[in-house]
């Protein structure tokens, strides 16, 4: 996995499954379709002659911009998925994500309040799951999507065991 400038030195990141990009693409497709449909309404109305007063150039520009933006987003999805990584250290879990806006989060096992494993319909088809580690602080919630189910289960057990052994109150 490529090292970004903000990645702490000496961390070996584990990537999430590349097929998580497909999950993201399905979500992208639904969102893009709805946006496109809504913003195409003026164009349809103008073309069918219902709404004559609306400027034609604007009616064409809006869906065109949507298409351009959504294509860029689609192209970025595989790279964004490749930028998600996690690393287990002795006392804490590191999670990184983001290309343009990069974030690295470290959450100590001892601060863990509970672990979620979530599986959506597309996740299930591809054998993926999402592990979420919750702490008392809302902004220290580590989320690792796109894990193979076996790895997700292992991670959950691992986190629970380590959280137990390093248990700290609040």
């Amino acid at each position: 996995m490529r090292q970004e400038p903000i990645d702490p030195a000496g961390i070996q990141w584990t990537r999430v499954s590349p097929s998580y990009a497909k999950v993201r693409m399905v979500g992208w497709a639904i969102g893009a379709l709805i946006t496109l449909l809504v913003l195409s309404v003026p164009l349809v109305l103008v073309l069918t002659g219902v709404w004559e007063g609306f400027p034609l150039w604007l009616a064409i520009t809006a869906p065109a911009v949507v298409v351009a933006v959504e294509v860029i987003r689609l192209v970025l999805i595989p790279r964004q998925v490749a930028a998600i990584g996690y690393a287990e250290r002795e006392d804490d879990l590191l999670v990184r994500h983001g290309l343009m806006f990069q974030k690295v989060l470290v959450v100590p096992y001892g601060r863990m309040q509970f672990v979620d494993v979530a599986v959506g319909p597309i996740d299930r088809m591809l054998g993926l799951c999402k592990v979420k580690l919750h702490t008392a602080a809302a902004d220290a919630t580590a989320e690792i999507p796109g894990l193979p189910v076996a790895e997700g289960t292992r991670l959950r057990e691992q986190l629970a065991a380590r959280g137990e052994s390093r248990l700290a109150g609040l």
Partner: protein
Amino acid sequence: MTPGRALPVPGPGETDGQDTPAAPWHRVHPVSPLVRGWIAVVAIAFVYGQNTLSSFFGEEEPNPGPEFISRTPLMVSLLVGAGILLLILLGFFGTWWFTKYQITDRHVNVNTGMVFRQQRQARIDRVQSIDIAQPLVARIFGLAELRFDVADSGSAAMNLAFVKLSEAHQLRNEILARAAGLKSPAPPAPPLPAPPDAFPVAGAIPDPVAPQTPFLEAPASASASLAASERVVAVVPTGRLIGSLLLRPSTILMVLGIIGLGIAMSTIEGFAPFYLLPAFLGMAGALWNNLNTGYNFKAATSADGLRLSYGLLDTRHQTVPPGRVQAIKVTAPFFWRPLGWYRVAVNVAGIGGGAANDAEQRSVLLPVGSYEDVLAVLSVVLPAPGVAAPRDFFAAAINGSGPEGGFVVSPPRVRPLSPLAYKRQGYALTDTALVARNGALHRSIAIVPHARTQGLRLSQGPLARRFGVVDLSLATIAGPVVPLVHQLDVASGRELFLEQADRAAAARRQTDSNHWLGDA
């Protein structure tokens, strides 16, 4: 102390893992529902009485009621009124009768609800804060509300409204004694921890009201011997409070707005923007609210932790046990700086959540105070600051700039991004905490003890990447303190990130316990 409320004494062989089964159940004070619901009762009585009387005397009706009321004879009206009153009283009686509480060695149990019953059990050693609040009406009756907060995001875990004031104090002491890890029957009260040498507190005023030597009392009950003596560390004089409120940007804006409107109304004919009145009333209300809650503010330290008391009409006594403070913020607002005034607020689990509407007020440790007051309060919530000379260190932290005091600040290349603050924004490490410094005009520092670090987040956007800087935010529980180290050099930010994670892990191993006196 009535015999019925005496503490259950566990037998010698009893394990501490078991609750004493025989702990008695208590009810709150019988007039409680009335104290809570008096506004509704008065409103109903007023409207009803006015309608009835005016219809009876039959003159010009100032407030004509519904047809059926104005046509019914007085006798029927009175009967209906009595019926409504009876129903209300019955409801009050029911809520009172079905509200019961019990305090065992490890838990607080509260049963409430007439139709929808609720039984709640809260662990005493999870207490985050205990409040004794007295709204004005409750004060008239000599009653108080006891509130017990645990670290969930909702409202109080236990809300006993209302009990007698003395009883509330006693319950608080009992709960705190047990939360501290002392079993009943209690050993002699712990001596008050000596003020830390590191903090030479100038303004420590002994409080003559507080019991000074609990050793003299026979340890007949745990709570009596554990009414930990308190030492006042800071008070807010009324003059300073009013001054601080006048020097708030919102007050200044309001005054300027009124002056401006006055000039406009006197010069422009027919210009009378009465629609702005609610806005001004709202601002005045906020001002009054601050005055009401900041009045007679007193911060004291005791073996149970920090004690705050304040209030003009509604008073409140708040106890935050040691080790509950997750992060501390000291601010020096721009308009207060010439006067050398500061404000201290904290994040405490269970208080800071957005759900409670008084969260903001309850997380304030010092509404306005001098530097000495700030040090005195810090010495209580941060007993081990972890630096050799805290007085100089915190002076540098709050008002200094550049590397003095061991601060690492943003590199000079971020000047275009933060033209004023680039020399100030940065961080310093002590043995026990990380101090993040921000702001050039409105100055603030955030202190996060290593042992309380919930997580760290390093983030960088496109602009920050061009300047080679990162932001490091320290995760803490919800509250007014949002610790952020702004625009650090990438290399040092990366280093700090992992180092701080390791420091937090090391600190956690050493100090982590919910109990603060007894064995963990």
